[in-house]
Amino acid sequence: MAPLILKNGAISAKSLTKNYGEFCAVNNVSLEIPKGICFGLLGPNGAGKTTMIQMIQASSPITNGKLEVLGMDTISESREIRKKIGVIPQEDNLDPDFSVRYNLLVYARYFGIELDEAKEKAEELLKKVELTDKADQEINNLSGGMKRRLIVARGMINEPELLILDEPTTGLDPQSRHSVWDQIRIFKNEGKTVLLTTHYMDEAEILCDQLAIMDSGRILIQGNPKELIKKTIGDDAAELVALSFGKDEETLNLIEKKCKLMKVSFSRVTDRIILYGKEIENIISEFNDEENLTDIIRRRATLEDVFLNLTGRQLRD
């Protein structure tokens, strides 16, 4: 399928490749992200998500291909691009030498924002992420969730048109997580574009209008989350759970064999096999009385199923 060319694309990558020395971290990726949507980039550890983001924020040079952000070229117009985007990095890099408020003011300076305006903007953003009470605190006195919220606020100091968030909710409690989600929704409702990476499939399903699943530097599949589930997995899934972890390999192996034989798609995860599609019942009926299975759970298919099915179950480094 030829990549869809959209006139008003927020991000447009054509045959984008990134090598670190001999190692290829992003391999010939083509991607069109239209303006005004929330786009999710999913993939196991080491898939190349952060590498993609660093190229998109025009701070890491591309090796091959073409990459445009907000209609500008990442090579020749990198400063202009960075002026118009907000980045929430994967790693906390707040300035521990400054207070909460001063972190925002110093950051504003890099965007050429005048002090008075920056002060106003900082108060507004601190209120938005509910950190007004902490404005004069040192960074080291903040909890993980507060730091994240502050980084989100910092990423919006320049009123960006595109917000890029690299695993914005990793390690957050449900309250902080919802707070970050709210910021993303508010931002998107202003008609602006969001690009985010996450390892939480529920998060991707809830927030993203479109997403792509990457693995080993390539995009495996791309589209609307609901449609992706329907297309690759179908509506239904069932989990067959082994009795004791490790010991009942045999039973699971047997089920796996059967699935392959009957061409039923499945994922195998530690103590269980997850079955997908219409033929589920055929397999279940066969193993219904298997005493090495503790549980058979029928449920709706989710994005996590798509993810596991596509990227396999082996751990990544």
Binding site: Y20, Q57, A58, S59, S60, P61, I75, S76, E77, S78, R79, R82, K83, I85, V87, P89, E91, D92, N93, L94, D95, P96, D97, F98, Y102, V106, Y107, R109, Y110, F111, G112
Partner: protein, 264 residues
């Protein structure tokens, strides 16, 4: 690539301001400690050891080491900042990485590091000059000339830049902060003694003299000494040329090698 690495004066200033802001916020802990050690050297060696030495290089011992101590404090100001402190910002605090997502470029960040390290060199020179003038006033023996005193912060600029560049070269290479101890103990500390700072080069055997003439601190000390006494300026050509060339090479290499490390 060009754009990612281009230099913008406004951005360099913004990054420099960040470092200056940190310094101002913690000035109480920043202002005095760098002065204590050199002043102890001045008093301890200058007056203590100096009591047993009639003269050195044609002047009293305390007058001999006062300009040396100025050169040393210029060196440490820049070198320390471009190594340990820069590494903390790069590696532990991820300050460089945070700035990389703003309109400032990696080159802006590195040039700002050089300028900030040089600023430290200039502040050290200013503070030490003031301290030396004060000590001179107290003992009623002007240790450096007034013209020399005024010029010290100015020559701290090229001298600071030279050592800042050398620092960045090390920072581009190091894998851990402890590693900096190696160049400090093997290079900086020996240079401290070898650079004609505490006794004149002419006392050295010829081979040691030749080695000393290759060391950057030797030339920094020649410059501060000449300015402090206010004579023999015309003999500075060699040292000034040395410092100029080294400054260009070291800052260029420092930025280039650090870029290679951080822009991947």
């Amino acid at each position: 690539m060009k754009e990612i690495q281009g230099i913008s004066p406004q951005m360099v200033y913004a990054v420099w301001r960040r470092h200056a802001d940190v310094w101002v916020r913690t000035w109480r802990t920043n202002l005095l400690p760098p002065l204590v050690e050199p002043i102890l050297y001045l008093l301890g060696f200058g007056f203590g050891v100096g009591a047993y030495i009639n003269e050195m290089g044609g002047v009293s011992y305390v007058e001999y080491i006062a300009p040396s101590i100025l050169a040393i404090s210029m060196m440490f100001g820049a070198f320390f900042e471009a190594t340990y402190s820069a590494f903390v910002r790069m590696y532990y605090q991820k300050t460089w990485q945070a700035i990389a997502a703003t309109p400032a470029s990696a080159s802006d960040v590195l040039v700002a590091e050089l300028l900030w390290a040089t600023t430290k060199s200039v502040t050290n020179a200013t503070l030490m000059t003031t301290a030396i003038l004060s000590v001179g006033y107290v003992v009623n023996q002007p240790l450096i000339s007034m013209q020399g005193a005024v010029l010290m912060p100015i020559v701290a600029i090229p001298i600071g830049l030279m050592f800042a560049g050398m620092g960045l070269i090390l920072t581009s290479y190091t894998s851990s902060i402890d590693w900096f101890n190696i160049p400090f103990f093997l290079f900086v500390n020996p240079m401290f003694i070898l650079a004609g700072t505490f006794f004149p080069l002419s006392e050295f055997p010829p081979i040691a003299q030749n080695i000393a003439m290759c060391l950057p601190l030797t030339h920094a000390a020649i410059v501060t000494r000449t300015l402090a006494y206010g004579d023999g300026i015309e003999n500075l050509i060699f040292s000034v040329t040395y410092i100029t060339i080294m400054t260009v090479i070291m800052t260029y290499l420092g930025v280039k090698l650090c870029l290679r490390r951080i822009v991947t």
